[in-house]
């Protein structure tokens, strides 16, 4: 009923083929939603929203002195991925994180990839997040990227492409887990019959990863692991508290920690107690005022030195940001080829580098057709969507690109696949992406599914929560239908 007037228009639709038939892996969901009327849907949606609000699954709205808290809009219709398709995604992500991790080890040690001229050295050495302080520094088990959340999109043919890598403090895993809980409650019947792969292993796996990278000097003693948050006013605080609770580890702020003789301690009711592993949700820049930003009040003086001395492990390691620089993104296919001798399983979106003469001329001539991105911004900021931008915005970006070409890349707009999503008028197609979560410890694991983000505004391609995005539960099936 709700899907009778659904239009796929000129997009790749996750649920329907071009001819309008339901794809086999969506059959069970389609059957259930066919029998759903808008009244029942409204009731379920209200119940879910209320549950999120009550249990505080919220983010704080900045610039609001009322301290308003909002829920991250959740769409009840799940996104479904068949098993075979998922296996390819999984392989592709494992390949990518393996190569990026080898890349990070290389550029902080021998820099072979630069010497072999696969990447022009200035791109790396001049990158905003390259930490020369960490040259020659070893990290436990040579793992740099413990937690990775890469954003995947699908083009008009339905091919999965990597849009960007998030290798510093990727967020959203708690929403993946909470969305699943909410959906199970709202539709226990289809959930059971659809045979969905579980996601609840994420927190336990993350904990194992953190324990795995404990300093070797502990000699196998159970390490003290903590999660470090910027504090209760951070928009992701809910996630920090959620993950800490799921893992059963303390959540600490910078002011709870102190460094003595290059060792990190937390301030407890029984005095100072050592800390061995820190899952930090704070950017490099704020970790330690003695090394990075001296005005940081969030960090701990001496933390970086303790880390370099091998007395404390950080996840993710310091300096991973250089690998998710959008200019370095351009080189990831070459990085995979260089370290693994393989072709990338998940391709990049075709990208132009403003600092290459030929590319720059092309970009400047075609600004109204391209999407331009700043090299180090996240959250949908610092972007120009050429086809939708005003002349004024375009000319601002033109000036910025000319002034600082290193800071920009450009891509052809990808029209992102669409998914039936509940809107005021019923179910309509809205653009989605997918952020799967990859954990790198003793082995690399990808939680089946991830966070599907959906641009709720009609026609919008921006899925970020700060800019009108919502999310969906993501189902990976056992089998293909």
């Amino acid at each position: 009923m709700l899907l009778d007037h659904y239009q796929t228009e000129d997009f790749f639709d996750e649920m329907f083929t071009e001819a309008g038939a339901v794809r086999p892996h969506y059959q069970k969901v389609a059957d259930r939603f066919h029998s759903l009327d808008s009244e029942e849907h409204r009731r379920k949606q209200t119940a879910v929203d209320l549950a999120f609000m009550r249990s505080g699954v919220t983010f704080t709205v900045y610039n609001d002195d009322q301290g308003t808290e909002r829920i991250f809009p959740f769409d009840l219709m799940p996104r479904v991925i068949p098993d075979t398709e998922w296996q390819r995604i999984e392989k592709g992500l494992i390949q990518r994180i393996t190569a990026l991790n080898l890349f990070l080890h290389d550029i902080y040690h021998d820099q072979k990839i630069l010497k072999d001229r696969v990447i022009p050295p200035h791109y790396i050495l001049g990158a905003k997040h390259f930490r020369r302080e960490f040259m020659g520094c070893n990290v436990p088990k040579d793992i740099y990227i413990h937690i990775c959340g890469s954003d995947l999109i699908r083009d008009r043919q339905g091919n999965y492409l990597v849009l960007e890598d998030n290798l510093r403090c990727p967020s959203g895993a708690s929403y993946m887990l909470e969305n699943r809980t909410a959906l199970k409650r709202a539709f226990p019947d289809i959930y059971r019959s659809a045979r969905v792969q579980p996601v609840d292993g994420y927190a336990a796996e993350l904990r194992k990863v953190l324990q795995h990278v404990a300093p070797a000097s502990l000699g196998g003693i159970q390490p003290n692991v903590v999660l470090m948050t910027p504090g209760v006013f951070n928009s992701a605080y809910f996630e920090h508290a959620f993950l800490a609770r799921q893992m059963g580890i303390p959540i600490v702020e910078g002011r709870d920690l102190v460094v003595r003789d290059a060792r990190v301690y937390m301030r407890t009711t029984s005095g100072l107690v050592p800390v061995d592993v820190i899952y930090r949700r704070i950017d490099d820049d704020f970790l330690d005022p003695t090394v990075f930003r001296s005005d940081s009040l969030l960090g701990v003086p001496g933390l970086v030195n303790a880390c370099r001395s091998g007395n404390v492990s950080l996840a993710n390691s310091i300096g991973t940001g250089v690998a998710d620089d959008k200019v370095v993104y351009y080189f990831v296919p070459q990085i995979i080829k260089y370290y693994l001798g393989e072709d990338p399983i998940l391709p990049n979106v075709d990208t132009y580098l403003a600092s290459e003469n030929k590319d720059r001329l092309f970009i400047l001539d075609n600004l109204e057709k391209l999407v331009v991105k700043s090299a180090n911004e996240a959250g949908g900021y610092g972007m120009l969507m050429g086809p939708w931008a005003s002349q004024e915005e375009i000319s601002t970006f033109r000036d910025q690109i000319r002034a600082n070409p290193r800071n920009f890349i450009a891509q052809h707009p990808i029209s992102l696949s669409r998914h039936p999503t509940w809107c005021v008028e019923g179910l309509e197609g809205r653009h989605v992406d997918l952020r799967p979560y990859v954990l790198y410890g003793e082995k690399i694991t990808v939680t089946p599914g991830g966070l599907t983000r959906v641009a709720l505004r009609k026609g919008s391609l921006v899925v970020n929560s700060s800019q009108g995005g919502g999310s969906k539960d993501t189902w990976v099936l056992n089998g293909d239908s």
């Binding site: 709870d256 301030r267 009711t269």
Partner: protein, 359 residues
Amino acid sequence: MSELLTPTAQKPISNRRDSHVMLSRVANSLYWMSRYIERSENMARLLDVNLQLMLDFADFNDDQLEKHWLPILCSAGDEETFFKLYEKADSESVTEFLTFREENPNSIISCLFSARENARQVRDQISLEMFETLNECYLFLKSSNAREIWQSGAHEFYEQIKKYSHLFQGLTGSTFTRNEGYEFINLGKFLERADKTTRILDIKYHILLPSVSDVGGAVDAAQWQAILRSASALEAYRRFHVEDILPKKVAEFLIFSPTFPRSIRACMQHLDGDLHRLSGKEHREYKSPEERAFGKLLSDMNFMTIEEILDSGLHQFLQLVQTTLDRLDDHIYQEYMYHPPVDTQAEILLHQQQMQQQQ
């Protein structure tokens, strides 16, 4: 070495690697979360009872009204802020001030907002059910609904506030692990409760002074009944003393009852147990002068009679209890929650020098 280079002195280092360590900040938040909830409940009961009491004295003039409400205001300790906001103390202004004004840090709304803020700080430590209860209470108070209910019938509103507190404390008992954190929650609860019982008694202490002429009058009986109800003790008192409500007996009951959970002595007995479990000291051994003073007062109370207290002054005795509890509160803070602040500039200098020396 210059003095600047000495890092700020810190508490001793232990080598514990078990999951039972508790951050000082967390202990502090649990303690205050618990205190604020208990405080809001006591305030709700006090206001509810007194508003109902006023129904019996509808013909009170402004003077009498002020005489009634001023001691209540003073017991909350915020009369200065009050008179900045209101001209006179009557039922409307005092209850509004003690219920809804965020300018008053001890109003019900301020207490519950603070409790919830503390709970948010330790969301990873408390159970989901505990957080949900506080959060629901917060959302209720933030909604316009709260004031509407209060205006159309204050009793229902205060009932709701008490229910949140009862639910929260019940859930704490049934979902919170019996670890160090539990002791801090209990310390906060019983310290606040004991303190509030002294204040409820103190509001009416002058009635027990021999010089007051209308002791035993109708007004008095109603007032003493109100005191018992303010401590949720009316029924318990009646079961214990099958006789009229006598001021002396009421005071005796609220101070000495070893079994009624809101009496000063019962609260102190709980506190004594919590303090010992935290410090690991033997029974009757105390960790600090403040704990010892507390233990001494508790022992004294085991042997004192109400007559002795009345002879030497009820008000003075209640003040002694309050001061002892205040000092205990300070001791708990110093011992378990406070760490010397880090002097960031000195730390930066020190660490930079250490890094230089390594090369």
